[in-house]
Amino acid sequence: MLAKRIIPCLDIDRGRVVKGVKFEDLQDAGDPVEVARRYDQQGADELVFLDITASSEDRPTLFQVVESVAEQIYIPLTVGGGVRQMADVRALLAAGADKVSINTAAVKNPDFVTEAGDRYGVQCIVVAIDAKRVKPARPRGLARRPRPRWEVLTHGGRRSTGVDVLDWAVKMVQRGAGELLITSVDQDGTRSGYDLELLKAISRAVSVPVIASGGVGELEHLYQGLTEGGADAVLAASIFHQGTYTIGEAKKFLSDKGVCIRL
């Protein structure tokens, strides 16, 4: 039986691991190779690196980090952030990434996802979607709560697109995404749990694995994401970086609650 995956996420800025709230107030959280090695030893099922470096001049730093990590860690590594063209995909895979995550570039040019999937196989193409809840317009006299809606944001959660998240998720899978990384921009950094409605809606709508992201503060949140949210994998950053819980503690917690976990 396929195990649910626990994935620590490392935000990388100019070659260092950082952590911020809602993509802001960044703080240093260590050396990527050291942090990756620690998570590998604790039993992480995969690692995700998101490069949030603003300047493209610092891009080679990322390739060096990916290369050093891939040399020492024998679990799958996904790298995203600033993946704009085929040359980026090729360079990241060549540096040792197993999958690349595409976000803003997919919105600008959906054909890019198709091309990358055709060339390198859909299994190494992750489409990352930053989702923000749309405040429902409430016509007077409407008794029932309206169906929730989410909008796709780009540029690290800063820019609106007006695109509906569910439509977008389905379209991206048709286009060749092998996996979706769903981040709730509303929940990210709040430590109050994933947006479970969002996860549930997407997990039902698509046939590829879904990684839940944004909002974990307790181990119970991981459990909710995998069960109620229907996610295939859960991603978390701060609870692991700040040493609140080890990966091993998270896995034991989930396994004790009956989730299929690789221990």
Binding site: L2, A94, D118, Q123, C124
Partner: protein, 214 residues
Amino acid sequence: MAETIGVVDYGMGNLHSLGKALERVAGSTRVLISYDPDELLGCNRLVLPGVGGVRACMQELKRLELNEMVAAAAKNMPLLGICLGMQVLHEWSDENEGVPALGLVPGKVVRFPDPPADAKERLKVPHMGWNRVKQTRAHPLWAGVPDDSWFYFVHSYHAVPSRAEHVIGTAEYIHPFAAAVARDNIVAFQFHPEKSQGPGMALLANFVGWDGRS
């Protein structure tokens, strides 16, 4: 003279981490990543990795004259296929509207069925993540690897060998399927040993020391 492991580079895979993983277990054995058929035929053992689609894979193997090289190597040296590299060892793959493959192991490659709409839990395709492998037949590569160990998979298609005796390990996803096959000096895994921590590294180490006899 020191031995050499050849890793077939047909331009589609991420060979960096596979090369590093092999180097880690290779001891004095040299790891050579190459697309030169003559250079690869001069090696003592061969790894055929693979990611991507089967049509592009077969096209590139033919364009680089590596298909004949792999067939020749399969006659006289230990050969390890990984993921798509396992699938193309079979005769035929249904992927990309159907593609004839290398035919070194009798059988074909088919897609996982889509789950019925009313399924209680929807099993996603690709089969992506860690799954247990049951060792259904003894093989030298299983030495020191506990039965039911976890390995990392990522694939939408899986091999269906014609002969049951070629299946040495199975995993269960939607239904049981061949996760490891072996025929004479050929052995192949659907999962990625280079991404499977301890058990994966043990398999690679066993391959480095394998004489090609089952």
